[in-house]
Subunit: 161 residues, 12 copies
């Protein structure tokens, strides 16, 4: 017998539970990736990017908590352990060592674009089964897309719009 | 002639007005029930539950205000008077006198589950007529489901997951 | 055997318990009435009265908590449930629908005057049995009389002093 | 090649971009109109309306920023320049000189009603193409409809409900 | 030998000292007059004017302190005693008893206009002898003229602009 | 017909009204006296006493507001005008010009002792007629007696305890 | 000749001085006892009780300061030294070593009940001689009785109400 | 008959009124221009300039309010409507679309230099007619010149000092 | 040539760099483990442990940042990526699914004891090579040992001290 | 079996436990002594010393908590009961009654010098057994030595440097 | 070609630049002198003067920043290096070693009087060339003259006014 | 006879006193150098470096105060006068005039590296004589090394890691 009685049917719960678990992993890894770059970035834009990355970390941490607690609230146990994150994240591994500022920006653009793509799929799949979870995914996506814009706006590509 | 010109058609307004009035009653009674338990709970977990209940009260009061003011904004006069709450609430009456902590948790689980069920219906009925009101109902439901998880997680049933 | 050992004798406790229970009901209903008017008031003075009423709500909520917790502290279980409030309040029922601003002021004057009268009796009856409870009732009455002055000062009657 | 890679298809982007640009103009002009009335209102209700208008300004400024940054995040450049606002706003021009308080209320009711109507259309058109942008438009509309209620509640018409 | 060595010549000090002492008296009495009206005002606009008057009190108290301490800083002992205020103020005595709201506004307009007239003379006389004191008088006058506008904007006269 | 309906009988009201009016005058004058000394004190202890006096001012201003608003709440119009303060205060007039720090302390001790004596009489006379007003007078007296202790503790007399 | 001139007669001062000195000792020892348990409590309810005890400490420290400064304000020198506290407290000595959570609750119930009993006597004895001191004792007692309720509500005895 | 009685002569008022109206337009347009660039800037310095621009917006909004309310306080009705801003601003129109960071800096340098030139003329013309208004224009100019320095310090030209 | 010139010799840097990298991994994994338990804990002590775990998360996150930035400051690039954490942590893997409260406490005791053991070794090895890094490790260890005490104090074992 | 498993060996634990228990007693008694002087000091410097002593109290209270909780974290039960403090403190007993300001300063110098001497021994004895505890003792000593300087700087002896 | 285009003519810029550079040096040295005395003062008034000096430091630091940034804003590079301060300050060198409190006050009076004299000259010379810079110098002088009064009020000379 | 009795032996005091005096000079000059660059930096990275430098200033000022007060607390009078700083600093003199951003970064790297080298020597020499002072030097060094990393990370050299 389950600990938390879900307000959703089993079928809906399966879809929503997977969406939330996926979003949790993406958000946790995004926070780890952003911290990794935050610590290792170098170059003339060091300070600006160093500070900007901590805002990504704050966003990712806050939403990862929302995703995990939403799963628990629906009766699905979330899994945000290091090994699970390492094995199931879709973000490309960040290289070790110092990271040039231009490269740092590109790493973040790539990571955010991948995660946003997956989030938009989750928004679609949760629409019917649970508009409440969908609303939380929408809020997370809005924040990620804002961060993605800002990194793109300062990437090499934007240098010649 | 009405005081506030509604942005909704009459048919939509009827549906949405009823949803908001119902949500208002549920939220007000939830705040009164939570306070009643807050004052009368006893047992080893007294302090923890006493504090947790005030967070339910805060949630319920804040959303009841949102529901009532949303009704007014649509031109429907809200009714949150004691007699209306007493006669139309769906929450089971709380017994008088001291309440053991285990029982307090169960009272809150029961009250929250009933209210959540009704809120999910309101989310559905308001989807087409007024996505703005629906959004407020979704936010309220998300908060209630989080509270419901927490009380279930500490209920007797969760003791043997 | 009672949960909380009262510092008062049984006779004193009966008097004080009734005073606190009565004050609790009055304070809770005052908060519900003030909210009802807060949501439904209309007229040129809408904004001013709308804001003023939330100050009454804050006062009433804060003191209702003090009254209920004081009862518990003396070993008397407080009862602030919707049905109890609805059946034992002395405040006249507020009409449904929009409320003209002048009428809103008058409703509050009437409600406050009734409650103040009952509070002053409670101050008297608790004087000997429990000066600690009396002190809390005095503080509550001082706040109510300040609100009563302000509504009277802006009522129709004050328009021709 | 565009600066910001949009997560939307070109067709969806066109619809959503127009909705956001329109909402931006409406929000910026609403902030300028509310300030104009804030500075020029006179009459017995001067102070109350003067203060209320600054809350409209705060709402309008905050959401105009959200609309513009959302457009940028989608890869569409927003245009909130004075000349664009002046030429494409749907709000009727405010007369110069002192504005009587009753008239001030009416100006705000009219401006809000016009803007709300357009916002509701934008909510509808963005529903399918981009639920994320739609969510931001819903939040903006909820705030505007609350302001609209308050001005209507204190307008001449509400004086005889 | 004086306690504080003035940076001004004796002639300049005499002019500036008188200006500051006069400004001190006006500011102290303005604070007492505004409080008197704050306590005794009645009528439909009671709350709005009651709150507005406390902002005048805050302004007057803050600047009276600046004026007095500026006098001390120049080596002139300030005199803000009740008897000195009563005998040398230029503000017309406020009547005792309740004050109708319209009348309250007019009392404040009259008091502010009188004080502003005297402040403008002080700005002129201190220009050459001490631009530092003049700067403080300018700041005080700017605040008073803002209050004067607000009371005039809500006075009977403004009702038919 | 009076603006504010008093909860007290006419006889009680007369006693309580006089006590509150007297306390108002004492509190207002105490604030003016303390400011006068605050600006004119000199001597090695200048800074300490200068700061201490602003705490007396804060106390006096806060309680004078309570006294006046309590009178209004009972239906008695308070009078805190400069001329009334000057003519009815019991505090000895402060000399003009610089005030030596030892003398400043003595002025405050004398002023506080006189006011405290009158406050204690008011506590007695209001006991039966209005325990609510009495409670406010008790709170004021407690604050004044704390200030009185502090000034006595640093007066010349305390130098040889 | 005394440092601080007491507003009380010698007879009254003796009674009130003893009450305040007694209350000071009780409050200081309560703060030390609560800290001792705060540091040594163990068991499943460790965290909850650990936190709750710091609220008792805060209450006891704040009121002990009020009691001591009130004594000084009346001209009686307070004595809150460790040796005086140790020799004159009425609270039973706490055992050394780890304290089980149930036992911790019982220790606090016992300590609070003893102190409350003595405080109620002090309220009675100070009623006539000094209503100002009595008011401070009443406020202290109200806080202690609230803490006592909370510990009783979670004690073993409350487990079977 | 005018709503607000001006403390200035008609001739002085004309000069000062024009200066304030001009300053209002410049400040409002500066806020719109800075926001436009804030939203559309791209390039490696995106984030730094994006943040810096919001400080210009804050400065411009705050002073535009001061200018407009100063005009009202003198009895001149301010005009800050979009159409008036668009037609009478002296700031060169900003191009639409993305703006390279270097170009963004230059746009702000140009806009600030133009506005500062006009402000310095206003400081001169208001010197005699109204030192109070002049003081507000001086404060505004000081802030603008600080912003102008910062943008120049990071412009292309400063790259080879 | 290295980006950051280390103030340490190569030999010392190797020792200190390894200590900091190890401490970083432990701190990051501790934050992930604590969050995992925070989301999945159930049982009567749910709320208390849920809250306590977020304090561990806050501690671990703050110190992980200090460790990583200290490594960078010494010229050693930190590695806090999910895969590195997963492969090199010394904390035992947490089971998936709901976690009973008693078990949750034990998981935290075990994790903290392991990490503390490794931290104490790092304190020793860094003593000579770099007292600055050692100081940061000492501060981290002090915080961990405080958390370890608290979880042990509420573990099953403490139930029978 | 002990409640808290110590990270130290038994021998080290004995040394460190005694150091922490001694530091706890000194810190608690310092807080009581400083409060005693805070309440009883008289003389021209009353206010300055009265305030300064509360900073000593805050320091002592904060560090006493750190010492006691550090002991618990190591598995040693702290003892801060009044009787233990009274019997094992090294601070000379403070005389009862009023304390002249010069004498108050000397009492604090003496108390601080004694405690500092003992703390420096504890820093030495804990260096090897537990650098974590030593670090906490160092921080406490730094604060005490700062307070000791300040009291010495204003003592009679410093009057003729 | 200059980095920052000055809004002033070359002739005016020379005068204003010298005034600002001089004010910068005076403000920086005042902050260093006040800190020197802050650290070395001894005597019965140690604490009072120690605290007062940090307010001078705060004033001097804040204005030195304004002066330097104003110079930069006008296109003149400010010079606040230790060697420049040491060689061009007008403040007499402070002796090393402990400073008796009376002497500390005199040092500050002397330093402030010298600096104020120079500031008043700068106010005069900048009046025509740049009223904006003059306004900043006036604000600085007002603050310095307030500090100068306070130190004089507590100097030996003020002891016999 | 010295003002402050040192807890150190004369030999230890000499070593520690010199270390603290040296650290004081370095910290004060670092604050002046950082401000000088803060005011004169130009180039594309102006804003980022301008802000970063104020964080160095805050760090340097805070620690210079700690160093000086620590010296006083040990009985050694600190010397932080401009002439002493100018003559004994080890930081290379900063050139006058505008400073290109790249050069600004290099100046800070150089200054920090020099100061850190000296601080590390002071940490070593104070280890035995006074672990308390050493702890303060360690904290200062940790902050400086963090700043040094950040400037190196954005220096030209880091551009090609």
């Amino acid at each position: 017998m389950s600990v938390v009685k879900s307000p959703l049917s089993d079928a809906d719960l399966k879809v929503v539970g997977e969406a939330l678990q996926g979003a949790l992993i993406d958000a946790v890894d995004l926070s780890l990736v952003a911290k990794q770059v935050h610590w290792n970035v170098v170059g003339p834009r060091f300070r600006s990017i160093h500070l900007q990355l901590d805002e990504v970390v704050a966003t990712a941490r806050q939403h990862s908590d929302v995703m995990a607690e939403r799963a628990s609230a629906l009766g699905v146990t979330p899994d945000g352990r290091a090994s699970t994150v390492a094995s199931s994240t879709a973000i490309k591994n960040v290289p070790t060592g110092w990271i040039k500022d231009d490269e740092a920006v590109q790493i973040m653009v790539d990571a955010l674009v991948v995660v946003i793509g997956r989030m938009r799929e989750r928004i679609e799949t949760t629409d019917k089964p649970d508009p409440v979870s969908q609303d939380l995914l929408i809020a997370l996506t809005a924040d990620l897309e804002k961060h993605a814009w800002m990194f793109q706006a300062e990437s090499r590509q934007a240098d010649n719009p």
